[in-house]
Amino acid sequence: MTAPHPIALQVNGEHVEAYVLPRTNLADFLRENLKLTGTHVGCEHGVCGACTIRVNGEIVRSCLMLAVQAHGASVETIEGLSDSGEISDLQEAFRARNALQCGYCTPAMLITAQDLLKADAEPDRERIREHLSGNYCRCTGYQAIIDAVEATARARKNSDEGRAP
């Protein structure tokens, strides 16, 4: 069970095929094999949340998933979500509110926040705090992040209402 194993998956919409060691976790595969270094590794035991990515639309801690388990899956990382423009408003809100300092937690924080905003268009601050409560940030004290997510929710809601018939 230690020989390289073939996998095929979609990463940010691109078809990727690779041979990976069975023990390689998905975070290391993304960073070391695909050079997608926007996925950060903070603890390697599923606590800090810095390696959060999307697999088949769900947020996942990529340090707790093996690369072989991603065979056939669709994986999205911060690079893909940035290029597609899906979270550009959220990124702009983080920028305007200085909701990041060192930036190490930021890609995962954005992905986790977007996960909430897709499920709940009007989250209150408590709900935002709760949804982000698995993502460490040692710099900001969280308030600016909560503000930025709240502002994005409000702006999206307003723009949706603007489009409503």
Partner: protein, 795 residues
């Protein structure tokens, strides 16, 4: 503009004036899109990875290290012992000459003969990948003979306790005693004396990106390039060169994005030194990234103090004396090169600092232990001193039945008493304790909150209000390290130039770890030059590229690096106007720069665009009048000289609820008013305060490195070592009072550590306030449910 009338700044009150304005930090998109470059992301050709085999024992003789089996494993480049590495790198001793009596033993990059804490490296395995190195590390056979571990600081000096370093004679690293005024008379004239033992848990910084370094010795160039997430590149350059037997010119230190620092990354660690040495030994790039267990076991710890303290107070609220006896354990070595005596020394300096009380007695003792090294972490000593002082003030108030606000009003140094000197000899240029307290009370609506508290108490809901005034060391001069012989620069330099297209390039010796160094530099340079911020590119973190300087630590970036930027930009501005005057056949006094062009000073009408001026200077100097040699680059350095430190002040308040059945504390709200002088970017300052507060909240409620009696760290992982998460953290309101320093034209003092300085004290006072109906007082942090239930006699 949110700044005071400050005559010397008048020329900044113009278009492109960014000082005092909230503007987004430049280049944030890089981090927002996951396109930053942290050291852990870096790869170089032929790069190998090092993994350290670490001692599982707190104290053990290394009988033998057998590397043969490991060397045979696939991908292994080398397996290196401490003895072998000693040929490449010399040991060091973490002392400073101005810390009188401070002693430590020689420390090696990799242990030789003896391991002194659980986690000290005893061998290095270098391989083609981290995984291969970890696999091979399993096959390094180290035979240990376990020695008795010194773990309890309270018995470290007992004659029955083994001495960790025989050559030092005892386990006492440093002792300072201090007397000011007449403490005995002060206590004699007191109507009441309150005393307590304050206990502070050992905790650490938990930077989200672990310490990381890539060392690249190019044997052909005889030059070492160190890529490291450090706060002080020139310090790293000096130390690496010194111990590798190189000239500083042979060492380049490059610092790209840094995933959190907080003082953790201002030191030089043994494993980093070993990584530099391994690169030199193996003649190829070597990468070391700590894993999380290594971070907990080797990143400096801080704050492990036990302090017996008392305060005397008269019935009218006058505090008559403070006395402290502080004890702290720092691990087996004083850290290098900043030493591990600074925190205890700061506690002696800072206790009682906000108050007029002239009578003060202090003793601090720093002892060795077989635990991980302790050293400077954000707000060094301040949280200890503030918690002791503010805890004592609340105890004194309770003794005489006075409101905690009232006793502070009666003892805080008056706002018109400056300049003045504290009993410990700290010189205060201009502080604002009373104005800050008044503002805080208004922000929190103190009286209404007291009413609400009383109402809720009747219904069995126990809420508390805690207040903590504090002072904070910022903008340190050479008094911190330079005078003690450390090659840690207290001055910073900035070079500014106008490029050939009229944009500005600025190189600064301060560094960026997310605080906003790049932003404040661009804001200041843009403001002085009259160019828009997006035209200013700031280069930091490269000893080959920037002027020489200290870096970013001790809340010094804005105050020192910012002033250097201001002065450099002023010279460049003058030079640009001289060239413009020559081109336009005018005089510099008749011209100004605004919105990226030369304009008439009188009516602001445009004369020549900066790109056009630059084109002429760089490509058609032949068209300039004879004798004109334009200098479109200027460099200035700055260091404070009149005051050793620019003290800031502030006050914090916590509002929280204690569940007396479970012992859990719910933080409801936190307020801070602080005075860092001129605020360059209000948003960035507020975010520094908030981030700092939350690190202090962690100390107050959650964070503790728990060692067992054998010196084993039992919670060296993120699941067991708790930090504040978004769910536990309250919203924090921040207000400012502005008392500029006259030492610089900019007038800015530091703001990076103020939040951490007072947060734990405010929370502890609030918990005790909530527990008042039960007659319980707790003077220990973190305030765990167990501690609270014990104090309530529920368990």
């Amino acid at each position: 503009m949110n700044k005071p009338a400050h005559a010397t700044l008048s020329e900044l009150d113009r278009p492109n004036s960014y000082i005092g304005k909230t503007v987004p930090r430049p280049n944030l998109d890089r981090l927002l899109q996951g396109r930053g470059l942290y050291v852990s992301d870096m790869e170089l050709p032929r790069m190998a990875h090092v993994v350290y085999v670490r001692s599982p024992h707190a104290h053990a003789k290394i009988v033998s290290v057998d590397t043969q089996a490991a060397k045979q494993k696939p991908g292994v480049v080398a397996v290196v012992t401490g003895e072998e590495l000693a040929d490449v790198i010399t040991p060091w001793v973490g002392v400073l000459s101005h810390m009188k009596g401070l002693k430590s033993a020689p420390q090696r990059a990799i242990a030789v003969d003896r391991a002194c804490w659980q986690g000290e490296a005893v061998a290095a395995v270098v391989a083609s990948s981290r995984a291969a190195a970890e696999d091979a590390a399993e096959f390094v056979a180290v035979e240990y003979e376990e020695l008795e571990a010194v773990t309890d600081m309270r018995t470290a000096l007992d004659s029955a306790t083994p001495v960790i370093h025989a050559s030092l004679g005892d386990n006492l690293a440093f002792e300072r005693t201090f007397d000011a005024g007449a403490p005995d008379a002060g206590f004699a004239e007191a109507d009441e004396v309150a005393e307590a033992e304050f206990i502070f848990g050992r905790h650490t910084g938990v930077t989200l990106e672990p310490r990381s370094v890539v060392a690249d010795w190019n044997a052909a160039e005889a030059r070492l390039t160190i890529y490291q997430g450090t706060q002080a590149p020139h310090m790293v350059q000096n130390i690496a060169a010194l111990h590798l037997g190189l000239e500083e010119a042979q060492v380049r230190v490059v610092c790209k994005d840094v995933g959190g620092s907080f003082g953790i990354k201002v030191h030089i660690y043994a494993d980093e030194m070993a990584t530099y040495a391994l690169s030199k030994l193996l003649k190829r790039p070597v990468k070391y990234v700590a894993d999380r267990i290594e971070s907990f076991n080797t990143d400096i710890h801080a704050r492990d103090h036990r302090c017996k303290a008392r305060v005397g107070v008269k019935r009218d609220g006058t505090i008559t004396a403070f006395e402290i006896d502080d004890l702290t354990g720092i691990g087996p070595y004083s850290m290098y090169p900043r030493t591990s005596a600074i925190e205890a020394n700061q506690v002696v300096n800072l206790v009682g600092g906000p108050y007029v009380t002239p009578n003060y007695r202090a003793r601090a003792r720093v002892v060795f232990q077989n635990k991980n090294v302790m050293c400077q972490y954000r707000a060094v000593g301040h949280p200890i001193a503030c918690s002791i002082t503010e805890g004592l003030v609340d105890l004194a108030a309770a003794k005489i039945g006075m409101d905690p606000v009232e006793i502070r009003r009666r003892n805080l140094i008056a706002d018109d008493a400056y300049p003045c000197t504290s009993p410990a000899g700290l010189r205060f240029e201009l502080l604002s304790h009373h104005a800050s307290l008044d503002k805080l009370l208004k922000m929190m609506n103190y009286d209404a909150l007291r009413t609400e508290q009383a109402e809720l108490c009747k219904r069995g809901i126990h809420r508390g209000i805690g207040i903590a005034s504090f002072i904070e060391v910022t903008n340190p001069s050479a008094a911190f390290y330079g005078v003690g012989g450390a090659k840690i620069s207290s001055q910073d330099g900035v070079a500014v130039r106008l490029d050939a297209q009229g944009a500005v390039v600025c190189q600064t010796s301060i560094t960026e770890q997310g605080q906003g160094s790049e932003s404040l530099t661009a804001q200041i340079v843009g403001s002085v030059l009259g160019v828009s911020m997006e035209k200013v590119r700031v280069i930091l973190g490269d000893t080959d590229q920037t002027p020489y300087g200290g870096g970013t630590w001790a809340s010094r970036g804005a105050g020192i690096g910012g002033e250097a930027a201001l002065q450099a930009a002023k010279v460049l501005r003058k030079n640009i106007l001289e060239v413009a005057a020559a081109i336009l056949q005018s005089t510099p006094a008749e011209l100004d720069i605004a919105n990226n062009r030369i304009v008439n000073a009188g009516d602001g009408s445009p004369r020549i665009e900066l790109p056009e001026l630059a084109r002429i200077v760089y490509f058609r100097p032949d068209t300039l009048p004879p004798g004109i040699q334009p200098e479109l680059m200027a460099t200035r350095h700055f260091v404070p000289r009149q005051y050793p430190f620019a003290f800031t002040n502030g006050v914090q308040a916590s509002w929280l609820e204690v569940d007396t059945d479970t012992g859990f504390v719910k933080l409801l709200k936190h307020w801070v008013v602080e005075d860092c002088g001129v605020v360059v970017n209000p948003q960035l300052v507020d975010e520094q305060i908030r981030g700092g507060v939350v690190q202090g909240l962690g100390a107050a409620l959650f964070e503790k490195c728990i060692y067992d009696e054998r010196g084993q760290l039992t919670n060296a992982n993120m699941a067991d070592y708790l930090v504040p998460m978004s769910g536990e953290t309250p919203d924090i309101d921040v207000g400012h009072v502005v008392s500029p320093t006259a030492e610089s034209e900019l007038g800015a003092k530091g703001a990076g550590e103020a939040g951490t300085a007072g947060a734990a004290a405010a929370v502890a006072n609030a918990v005790n306030d909530a527990l008042k109906p039960f007659g319980a007082v707790i003077t220990e942090i973190p305030l765990t449910p167990q501690l609270i239930l014990t104090a309530l006699k529920r368990i």
